[in-house]
Amino acid sequence: MARLIALGAFGDLLPLQVGDVTCTEVVRETLFSVAPYRGQQKAVSAGLKTQLGLTLPAVGRRRAAGDVICQWIGHDAWIVSAPVTLDGLAAVTDQSDGYATLEITGASVEAVLARLVPLDLRSATFKVNHTARSLLGHLPVSITRTGPQAFEVMVMRSMAASLVHDLQEAMTGVAARGSA
């Protein structure tokens, strides 16, 4: 009989602070991807409303109800942070351990991300609860603005160390400039 110990995705790499920017691990017990079958998007949205109190957000958006989030994650797919039952309506796949997620915050956070992400993440164009799939350096990521100076970055769990490496390099460069 085994006794399995759960470990975080980032090990002891986080938290990390350089200059005025800090990265901390975001832990969500469960994550499920939801990919509605053909013609079932409305039904899926209704199902989520009933079960989680959240409907499917638009492309490029996240919705939250309390701790539960529902976020667009790609072509015809969303991700929710609580178990859902959508039999026959959508492909629901357990991704609870598929991602490493961190939050990056601080006054220079946009400058740090501008070193790595080929998106206009300035607050005028990329607002709170806007989410995008893109690259961070060479890593495929999902990036969401969670506050005026805060973003959440999700990366494939196996790439967690690379994510921290790339962010740390950018954070160090930005901090050394004094102000960006």
Binding site: D97, V117, L119, R157
Partner: protein, 965 residues
Amino acid sequence: MRLRNPGQTVTFTFDGKPVQGVPGEPVAAALLANGIRLMGRSFKYHRPRGVMTAGSEEPNALVTVGRGAAQDPNIRATVLEVSDGLEVFSQNAWPSLRHDALAVNDLLSPFLGAGFYYKTFMWPASFWEKLYEPVIRRAAGLGRLSGQASADCYEKAFAFCDLLVIGAGPAGLMAALTAGRAGVDVILADEDSAMGGRLLREVEDVDGRPAAAWVADVLAQLRALPNVRLMPRTTVTGAYDQGTYGALERVAAAGAPVECFWRIVAKRSVLCAGALERPIAFPDNDRPGIMLAGAVRAYVNRWGVAPGRSVTVFGNNDDAHRTARDLAAAGIKIAGLIDARPDVQVTADYPVFTGGSVTATAGRRGLSSITVAHQGGTRVIQTDCLAISGGWNPSVHLTCHMNGRPRWRDDIAAFVPTPDAIPGMAVAGACNGVFETAGCLREGAEVAAAIARDLGFTAEVTLPVAEARAYAIAPLWEIPGKGRKWVDFQNDVTTKDIALSAQENMRSVEHMKRYTTQGMAPDQGKSSNVLALAVLADLTGRGIPETGTTTFRPPFVPVGIAAMGAGGQGKGFAPTRLMTSHHATVAARAPMIEAGLWYRPSYFPLEGEVSWRQSCDREVGYARNAVGVCDVSTLGKIDVQGPDAAALLDFVYTNRMSTLKMGRVRYGLMLREDGFVMDDGTAARLGPDHFVITTTTAAAGQVMRHMEFASQVLRPDLDARVLSVTDHWAQFAVAGPRAQVLLNTVLDDQISNEDWPFMACGTVGIGGVTGRLFRISFSGETAFEIAVPARYGESLFRQLVAQARTLGGGPYGMEALNVLRIEKGLLTHAELHGRTTAFDLGLAGMVSAQKDCIGQAAASRPGLVDPARERLVGLRAVEEGRRLTAGAHLFAKDAKAVTANDQGYVTSACYSPTLDCYLGLAFLKNGPDRHGEVIRMVDHLRGVDTLAEVCHPVFFDPEGGRARG
């Protein structure tokens, strides 16, 4: 000589000698201030050279900065800012800048004209690599790399804006101000350390104030606008598609990355890059002390440095007079002004020669005198600085980056940009051929206002009062007469070279460029291109427009590889993917090897083992005799769900998956549409509409893309969803006769052979955690793969390994895995290398003829099913002690090892501890028909030449009884 009290100074060194400089000024200014005119040697003839310009276009004053790993060659002394302790060295001179041995080339110049090397150095053949080329290479080149990695940091970044203004001279400042006030999101980038462009260099008033004061005022206004971002020290280096621009920033902050390469995305842009002055071709026009007139004014007006004590000015336009005026105002002696235009009326208290030209110069290491031919005769003038102005060339470079061709304007004797050469880019000011301040200010403002309105803003144009006067120029390219007249100073190309090029029918401008090397030096012909093609046009009798230009290409200024490649150094080049067992594996001292982006253990050495083979053989024994544990999480895992999931799998796999029973796994083969094998793996059916398939580690990304392609592009009629779950699951192979025993130590419910037959799959509990169990084997043994959510991966791995050790087993790495699979004739990408078919692999039976699948049609091409193809076989070494090696080629037993006799090649080979002999997998012509034949295997590279017996590729347990156990 300094014209004003410098105040605070810093000390740097030039070739080891201390020099005083003023913070912020370029090294070239400091050297001139200290009377140092000789700053470099030319590329080919090693001619003494001084500074010629005051900007990044400098062809002569290239220096090396720093030493050791920090050594930085080919830095423009006109851009490099002085700082305390800066070490500056001249380059391309030996033993010293003053006494350069290779200056002998200058004496040999009659023999070293354009393209001389194409005509000689051909005999004897071997002398090229041994003698001629090494000598040429040593003489050529400019600065020297240290050969070591620098410790300096570089970075890259992205920026976005509505409007990118390129250049902060009068046009750029007005453009940024006008658009910025309108509320447009503006980036203003300028390559200088201070913004203002020409206004910092010229003596004139704007809005009733000295121009520099007006600039300061505008910059203050711009800084106060939150929608305007100022990027000084930032050169826009290239224009790319859809409004993407490259830009290089020289970061000023100490300790910060030294350079940042920006990718700027702009809805619109305005090019306000100004203009570059051009020289005139007259004999020996390259001596230190001969400078462009605008540069002379910049040193005098901006930096307060006199480039000479007795200055002469030579030009074909009014800037010559402006130069003399500024020099006189600064109290510098003017030894003469030569205006090539005969009809100019000038009164001045210095000698003026209208209709004159400079016909000779003297002074080996610095100008001492010039000879002037004028309407009244010839005169020799003693002078240590000659300011020349052949007119201005608009900086059209960026507008040519998308193959735009500039057009010639006769009235200003210059090329100007073709409108809309870059989509979204407008052009304003001097780079558009407007050579007076008022016009630049107006054009910058008006162009920006129009863009602002286009973008939906309300813009007003408010213009300051400024100098407005016509640009009066009489084209003058080459002064007639004998002597060498430099056109391309950097590459030592003279008018004679261009003439020889034309004489040899290298008359197209591209041929001339490539034959003479004009325009191919670091300055990319910024000062020489127009002059060169004008000279060529004269020689060929074609006009300048007909002659045309060569193409300006990015980057506008040279960009360091470290800047554009920032982040790539070391491990930054590609992501690394780590298995959940990574730390435990490293702790076990397993050497890690790359598998795609992943790191996997090669083997797990035990105390006392001295070679990898010992460890490998032991680990093979675990699986064959006890139990081995291997992390296989790197294999791609793709979840396929939906009403048509089975149909989609039938379409992407050669064999049928729709007939697979729930709770069962099937081996599957995927083809590319061209009929060759793409990948193999397994499909497990978890529910009626739910499968999880595995891919090889190497092909995981490709298969995912392929599945999406099949689903979205080829079969959108099928309702199925495809998702990678590779990272969610940590998955471990447990292989060996005691695999089941081991599993039962960790599983919540005991399993038996009856419940979990070969190729069964299902859900299991491990310490209360829900996992998956697959009874599949890549070793030929009784084997399972057990999967748990990744957060539990490390924990499960440690427990499996610990339990395995108690059962006489342990972890195994890639080496053992490879041996185990070769013994069983199982395939990896050594065999699935993209050129092999199911037929070649003996798997033709897996290609169902009853249904359509990707690759099926093309796989039936005659060339893909020819029995004579190289097809998979096993090889068993037959000579005692002789190994088989992967990469060796195969020949008939008595044939010579030459291409004509080539029968195939070995893809995988190993020593099999199980069978105590060397085994190989190979592709052999007609292979399956040749079992039992002894063939010759030759690996020239490794020095192996041996015999092997052809056999079936499954060497061990061919009946497969062990896996079914």
